[in-house]
Symmetry: C2
Subunit: 409 residues, 2 copies
């Protein structure tokens, strides 16, 4: 099996991290900002130095292309994103882009030609920190989102995506979409599973199903000092019981089921007022669509029972639904064969976070390679990875892509 | 037993409610505002018409005095406050002031002279809606709070109490405090107990003990999609269990024990982030100091156990402590004898809310008379009372005060 140049890749990662470097060791390159532009230009320079050609589509997705021997073949694509959270880490997204570049550099070193062309994609606004929603570059590329809708999105200062694309010079003309033979994205796990299991490579089988619910609990606001307990309709005591029922639900659907209550707000809250109205969010996740449908029904049944018992009114509205996204069997097999051949410690894993690859999977055969991040920490300036893991993950990417793109003898 | 003129009192209540009347039937007279000044001036005019003399102390407390036959006797005081919440009701405070005035008017009608002088007090800033803390007029009068401290308090617009007193003409010169024979305050219950028990008169035995705690729960923020349930340290799931334990605590100390969690805030909350840090408040109440001390210890023990079990860090800090305030046995007996003599439906009750009488009780013999408010509702424009209850409560006040002040034969 081929091996990449781990030191070169690490040096590139560290050089990219200097652009928008933050005081506490992270990076800040908000989508289509001057720093994001600078990061893209560094990548573009490296790509040109590696003999690749560049193109940009109307939503600013940047592609570096290495030709194949077959002029009719669709490209095998790698990539991820270079934009970051405001207090982002050095590896989220950047790793997938520079791993793709390292694969090309390595093939150049080895003078290996592939039958199918290779492309390294830099997707626009994966993070969603400046422009909402997240991942709209890959969404527009794959036809999941309208170009016009995305161009009209404005940031907190009122600057539209269209304006930011023109300001940075990234309003390109390459046609959106087009034939893609396959897409392979390397990424840090952004969770603790690989580290906890002492594995280096996660062979990602797909993205899990997600349901976001909005829950509203209505009781009766009253004075904390003058209202006897039996006469109260306390929305928060009710919500506390509901939230524990939601925690228990995860146990009932273990280990695949995940439940989170991330936001809770009490209306007109005051220290000596019994909460009369509050809202909280529910985030449900599971590998299978059928299971998440059951979880959704269970949430509704259990919360309704608690509300009835406590004489509260509960309203549950769906906020967002994302079905499970299984990855392509052949692409996953290519990753599995690469890691088997390399003999690295590995496991199958489901992607818990959103990635451009989740969009690509609805458009073309797709797979991902995960490597651990220290302590599972991401979206944080302290985000860290081990250089050895960076190297092994890129070895897997190299061999999987090469197998899929076809080495010309 | 003597009876007051219910129609005259009701007409006065309705006339006062016109000052600062709100669109939805309530009153807005923020402390030392122009509307509060207008309310005080109406009361002052009525007091002068009833033959009383006026005085104002340096914190703006306004006193209307009816002389007694004994020039050496300290006054028997009645009263409450005329300021309101921003969306306040027509009876909270106003009832106690105008009931006191009605007692004097009634004695005038009956040409009854008392041995001790009578005074009707209008305490400054009972509500605390404009200036913090609440009830500082009675606090300064009784020496619980420094005059200088109170004068320096500023509202949200930066206007100090001293400036507001001068602007309204209520920076008076009557010495603070002085001898008070007894203090009787009539007030709406601001809770549902009397209505729920179909009683008209609450013979208030004192104020309950209050403890306010600040609880901070620290876990580990993490991604809702990538973190397996067993690896989570979810501050909100922990807090939900703690909050239910606090609810159970009230049951363990029933019926006197009350527990409320009124505020809860998750730091950097987001729908798909496991809460890593949050804070909530605890309001504990009980009639007895020894019991509230036990409740406090139980909160600490139960929350610490939950935190340990969940690998969370919990910190509990006292925010404010107010010991139980038993009222004067003789004054309470005077109220009890009046209501017994009148034969009105009554019960003993503990004051759940704060009142000027709670401050006065540390300064002079004190008692209160409660009447029901519809649905227990207060601090609300929809606050309402039944005219018949207003009348009966004032009958009780009249006979209790007359007994205490001594009728000159």
């Amino acid at each position: 099996m081929l091996k990449i140049n781990g030191e070169r890749l690490w040096a590139s990662l560290m050089a990219m991290a200097e652009i928008g470097a933050t005081a506490r060791g992270g990076s800040c390159r908000l989508a289509l900002s001057e720093d994001d532009k600078a990061g893209r230009e560094l990548f573009a320079r490296w790509s040109l130095e590696a003999g690749m050609s560049l193109s940009v589509d109307p939503i600013g997705n940047l592609f570096a292309r290495r030709p194949g021997s077959d002029p009719d073949a669709a490209p095998v694509m790698m990539g991820s994103h270079l934009d970051t959270q405001p207090e982002g880490g050095r590896f989220d997204g950047v790793y997938g882009v520079l791993a793709g570049l390292e694969v090309v550099r390595c093939l150049n070193d080895l003078q290996i030609q592939t039958r199918k062309p290779l492309e390294v994609a830099v997707w626009t606004n994966e993070e969603g920190a400046r422009f909402t929603p997240a991942m709209f570059g890959s969404a527009v590329f794959t036809g999941i989102m309208d170009l016009e809708t995305a161009l009209a999105v404005r940031d907190a200062d009122g600057i539209s995506v269209a304006e930011a694309l023109h300001a940075t010079g990234y309003a390109g003309t390459r046609p959106l979409g087009g034939a893609v033979d396959a897409y392979f994205e390397a990424h840090i796990e952004q969770g603790p599973i690989l580290e906890d299991n002492a594995k280096i490579i996660g062979v990602v089988s797909g993205g899990q199903a997600i349901r976001w619910l909005d829950v509203r609990v209505e009781g009766m606001a009253a004075h904390a000092g003058t209202t006897p307990m039996p006469l109260r309709k306390d929305a928060l005591y009710g919500a506390a019981q509901m939230i524990l029922a939601i925690e228990t639900l995860a146990t009932d659907f273990a280990p695949e089921g995940l439940t989170t209550v991330g936001e809770l707000g009490i209306a007109k809250s005051s220290r000596n007022t019994i909460p009369g109205l509050l809202q909280f969010t529910v985030d449900l996740r599971h590998h299978r669509d059928s299971a998440i449908e059951s979880m959704d029904q269970e949430v509704r049944a259990r919360l309704a029972a608690i509300a009835e018992q406590r004489q509260l009114k509960v309203t549950i509205n769906p906020h967002w639904i994302s079905p499970a996204t299984p990855f392509d069997a052949d692409c996953v097999a290519a990753v599995q064969q690469a890691v088997d051949g390399l003999g690295y410690a590995q496991q199958s894993i489901v992607s818990g976070a959103g990635h451009d690859a989740i969009h690509l999977a609805r458009f073309c055969p797709t797979a991902m390679v995960f490597i651990p991040c220290v302590g599972g920490l991401s979206h944080n300036e302290a985000e860290d990875v081990l250089p050895e893991d960076v190297r092994q993950g890129t070895d897997v990417l190299l061999n999987a892509v090469l197998a899929h793109a076809g080495q010309v003898a």
